[in-house]
Amino acid sequence: MNHMITVNKQQTKDGLLVELVGAIEENVHLEQMIGPVKGALVVNCKGVTRINSVGVKTWMKYFQGLKGQGVKFKFVECAYPIIEQLNMISNFSCGGDVESILLPYSCVKCQNEFVASCTTAELRASGLTVPAARCEKPDCAAQFDDDPEEYFYFLED
């Protein structure tokens, strides 16, 4: 059942690295799944496939709680479901830093979909310009598969 979420955890000397894979919905209990956080928390969101409205509530409750406890947290490799929420809900990051995001591309020749990772610092430095990207195919004609203005809305000052 591919809609069940998986939480992969790795404790490092600086803190806890957590990777979320799957859909964030009503059966997801982040507090239980992530457990106690020692040090800072880094949340890798590249495997998030979708997040429904109950998932959004769960997410915000959890991260607002962490913020209240004074835990530092950041999000890396945020996939489009997270980007969509960041763009739609002004306080979705709950004070966490969005360090890097995934940029969606699709090839106009072969319709191949792929993503490229980019830090938000690089994007801001470039004036929110979409970086060029290619897949492995030699004749790749990849284009950014979204509206840059919408996709980078949350990064605008």
Binding site: H3, R50, K57
Partner: protein
């Protein structure tokens, strides 16, 4: 259906869009530039549909005043179910129109291919001419191969949403579009399972119930989902048997904009319209047909593109029709 459609607009792009709409529904188009000149037409006959440019809110208020003066707000001449608001901005940036008693359908003026948008709108209008639950079949035709599933337990929601996802992926729909549409189906089912059931006084029964609590969906609490895909358009409808949808609440939820205000997490299961507000921002049209105390059918119609960018930019409408 009456054979005339009234357009109240002086925007240069609207007549060509409406020309396609009326061709689809087999009607004649009557165009006037302002509400004052519309009154004489409205006084003399009924129209199958009225399209009104709400770019300037003062014109909408003027229409409301004129109608009230001549016919009374409950007059037959102008009914919300036959009114289509044309706007220059999305609903989230035009929230003042939801206060109008004439709010029925709303769309942002097509940016680009108005011929195709007009044909699409005409198809939707034709399919919605008759009340009843066959909207999807009428819209998609035989090619749509509309299939129906009844949910017997609330825990089947995720399975049903994932079944739609798999159906789309098998149809070679790009994964991101499939995931987005799965989320929409998830939200529609959640509303039907948890928000629609209400007691004899109209009080919601499960508003504070956890959304992962499993329960039987029997009798009035049963929920039906229909899915069809004609190769271009995907249609999904979800029907509950309460007809408890509150018009004001619905319009508030679909037009809310959490970009400008913070989302405050509340206790209980409901998400303060997060699901509904997200549906309209993702791509596709959302139509509600609510028969008071009988049933509510929520319908998603979306064109499936090869790229998400095109999917997101597609022409769409929102419609809320309430019947007594």
């Amino acid at each position: 259906m009456s054979k005339e459609v009234l357009l109240i607009s002086d925007h240069p792009d609207d007549p060509s869009f409406l020309a396609e709409v009326v061709q689809q529904v087999g009607a004649e188009l009557v165009t006037v530039p302002d509400p004052q000149r519309a009154m004489d037409h409205l006084e003399s006959r009924g129209f199958a549909a009225i399209f009104f440019d709400v770019t300037k809110i003062s014109k909408l208020r003027s229409l409301e005043m004129e109608v009230q003066k001549r016919f009374g707000l409950l007059g037959e001449q102008v009914q919300a179910s036959r009114m289509h608001f044309i706007s220059d901005k999305p609903l989230s940036e035009k929230r003042e129109v939801i206060q109008s008693p004439f709010f029925g359908s709303f769309f942002q003026r097509p940016n680009g291919n108005s011929e195709e948008a007009g044909k699409y709108y005409g198809r939707i209008l034709s399919a919605g001419e008759e009340k009843g639950s066959n909207f999807l079949v009428r819209f998609l035709g035989e090619e749509g191969d509309v299939q129906e599933v009844s949910l017997t337990r609330s825990a089947q929601k995720q399975e049903a949403a994932e079944a739609v996802r798999n159906y789309l992926l098998q149809g070679r729909v790009p994964a991101r579009i499939a995931n987005t549409l799965t989320n929409v189906v998830d939200e529609l089912l959640m509303n039907a399972i948890y928000d629609a059931p209400s007691d004899e006084f109209g009080k919601p029964i499960y508003s504070v119930t956890s959304r992962n609590e499993d329960r039987m969906l029997t009798g009035r609490e049963s929920v039906e989902m229909k899915v069809g895909f004609d190769g271009n358009y995907l249609g999904v409808s979800v029907t509950d048997h309460f007809g408890s949808l509150d018009r004001t609440r619905l319009l508030n939820h679909v037009s809310i904009n959490y970009r400008d205000q913070e989302y405050k997490v509340r206790q209980g299961g409901a998400g303060a319209g997060l699901g509904l507000s997200s549906i309209l921002s993702t791509g596709g049209s959302l139509l509600y047909h609510c028969e008071d105390h009988k049933k509510t059918e929520a319908i998603l119609i979306t064109r499936v593109f090869e790229s998400y960018r095109d999917f997101r930019a597609q022409f769409r409408l929102f419609s809320a029709r309430f019947y007594g």
